[in-house]
Every structure is written in structure tokens, then in C-alpha cells.
């Protein structure tokens, strides 16, 4: 009935397994294949990617950057977002006590592999509320078409 020790109800092993699954659920690593260019969680900027039938949408959560100074490049199917985030912390001479410094500053660089069917010449990028939104169109030929029946 119980094929593995993990399946005993109420056993220590089962509890650990459940804990591991909950952590996986929170950090989102459960079962999903990760990209070869993916990095440890908590890197800057965080990226969400979504597909629509005619484009690929990439959202980079990069608050407090100057959009004019961000380099977004697409080179052979790899989208790279690079830039620098200025530090808001005061210099050493200022009479300021710093209690928390969790925010990231300095140079950042992230890369994302794009699917093969995107058209790099038709990409546009906007910056709103601290989110960099990059939309790359898919090639016309690969978009689903409806064929009319004669």
C-alpha cells in the first residue's frame, strides 16, 4: 500500500517531503525546466516572461533606473538587459545612519533566450512604474492561420 517511506501518513519523512514541496511551491522550482541562463532567485532585475500568439513579452522589474541608460540588445536569439542602478545611499561624510540596505545598486546584466520564431527587428520597449516591458513580435509565417474552406 505504501510504496515509499515518504508516503507513510504522519511520518517524519512525509513531513519533510511536504515541507520541501511547499518551499518548491513558494520559490517556483517544482518540476519546471529552468533556463541555462537562469540565475539564483533574488537577482536584479526579476524577470517574468509570457507568450501571446503574436509576440513574446518580457517584464523586468527594475525600479528606480533611468530608462535612457538601459541597454536592451537582442543578439542571435539572446535578449540582454544591462544597465546601472545609482546608489541612493549617502557618502561616508554625511551625518546619516544607515539601518537597512537591502536594495540593489550598481551594474546589472541579465540575459534571456528567446524562442526561434521571434523577429528581432520588431521589438519595442517601454518603462512604466519601475517595470521594463519588452515586446518582441513573432514572425508572420509562424503565427497560427485560419484556412478558409472553399
Amino acid at each position: 500500500m505504501f510504496e515509499s517511506m515518504l508516503n507513510f501518513p504522519g511520518s517524519v519523512f512525509g513531513d519533510f517531503d511536504r515541507l520541501r514541496r511547499e518551499i518548491d511551491d513558494i520559490f517556483g522550482t517544482a518540476g519546471l525546466p529552468s533556463s541555462i541562463r537562469s540565475v539564483a532567485p533574488g537577482s536584479f532585475p526579476a524577470i517574468n516572461i509570457g507568450n501571446t500568439p503574436n509576440s513574446v513579452e518580457i517584464y523586468a522589474f527594475a525600479p528606480g533606473i533611468d530608462p535612457a541608460k538601459v541597454n536592451v540588445t537582442i543578439d542571435r536569439g539572446v535578449l540582454t538587459i544591462a544597465g546601472e542602478r545609482p546608489s541612493t545611499l549617502p557618502g561616508d561624510d554625511a551625518r546619516v545612519s544607515v539601518y537597512g540596505r537591502e536594495r540593489v545598486s550598481g551594474a546589472f546584466n541579465r540575459a534571456v533566450s528567446l524562442p526561434d520564431d521571434v523577429d528581432a527587428s520588431q521589438a519595442h520597449c517601454s518603462y512604466r512604474d519601475g517595470v521594463l516591458c519588452i515586446s518582441v513580435a513573432r514572425r508572420e509565417a509562424t503565427q497560427p492561420k485560419r484556412i478558409a474552406v472553399q
Binding site: R18, P45, T52, A62, P63, R103
Partner: protein
């Protein structure tokens, strides 16, 4: 064990929030708090002071087009929340908040009586 799991799943909206990253700086006039809230527009940001607790509650507004199918996500919960305890020398009625490009800047001034004063020494 099973009952515990049920309790956790009944209210997932309230438990799963992102803790925004903050910088806290103090100078003579008060405390400046900088918080990263990317994706939050001004109308989805709520800052509350209840007693001595300052709560930042913010929701990420979806910018997604129709028919978007998520493929990969590092930001999985569309909500930020974080609370701080204010000390008594701070003046919660004069908090100024400013949200720009996803960075919230909160200025909590000190009470007039709590600001450091220089006492001149008189030489007789």
C-alpha cells in the same frame, strides 16, 4: 497534519506577499525609507499608520496584454506588504510619501522636541 494544510490553503491571498526590499536612513531631522515596489501605480499603493505601526500595502497592476500565457515568472505574487514599528520620537502625522518609477520614498520627520539641539556653553 491534514487540518494544518487546509488552514494554509484557505487564505492564500493574505499569506503570500512579497516583502519589498528597503533602505532605511536616519539623519537629524527624521527617517527616510526607500522601498522597491516595481509595477505598483500610485492608486494601488496604501500606506497606513495604526498606533505605532506603519504598513505599506501595494498591489502590482497588470500591464499584460490579452491572451498572455505565462512561461516563466520570478515575481509570482502580485502584492507587496511590509510593516514597521515607529518609535515615539517620530511624528506619524507628517509622513510624506513619494512614488517614482517603482521606488517609494517615505519621509518620517521627528517630533520638534526630539530633534537634537546644541546647547551653548556659557563662559562666565
Amino acid at each position: 497534519m491534514n487540518s494544518k494544510t487546509e488552514v494554509q490553503t484557505t487564505n492564500p491571498q493574505d499569506t503570500r506577499v512579497i516583502l519589498p526590499r528597503v533602505d532605511v536612513l536616519e539623519d537629524e531631522g527624521g527617517i527616510t525609507l526607500l522601498a522597491d515596489l516595481p509595477g505598483v501605480p500610485k492608486d494601488k499603493l496604501e500606506i497606513k499608520v495604526e498606533g505605532d505601526t506603519l504598513t505599506i500595502d501595494a498591489a502590482i497592476a497588470p500591464q499584460t496584454p490579452d491572451g498572455l500565457e505565462p512561461v516563466y515568472a520570478e515575481v509570482r505574487v502580485p502584492r507587496y506588504r511590509r510593516a514597521f514599528t515607529l518609535s515615539s520620537e517620530l511624528d506619524p502625522s507628517k509622513i510624506e510619501a513619494n512614488l517614482k518609477d517603482g521606488v517609494l520614498k517615505l519621509r518620517v520627520p521627528k517630533q520638534e522636541s526630539a530633534k537634537p539641539r546644541r546647547i551653548a556653553v556659557q563662559v562666565s
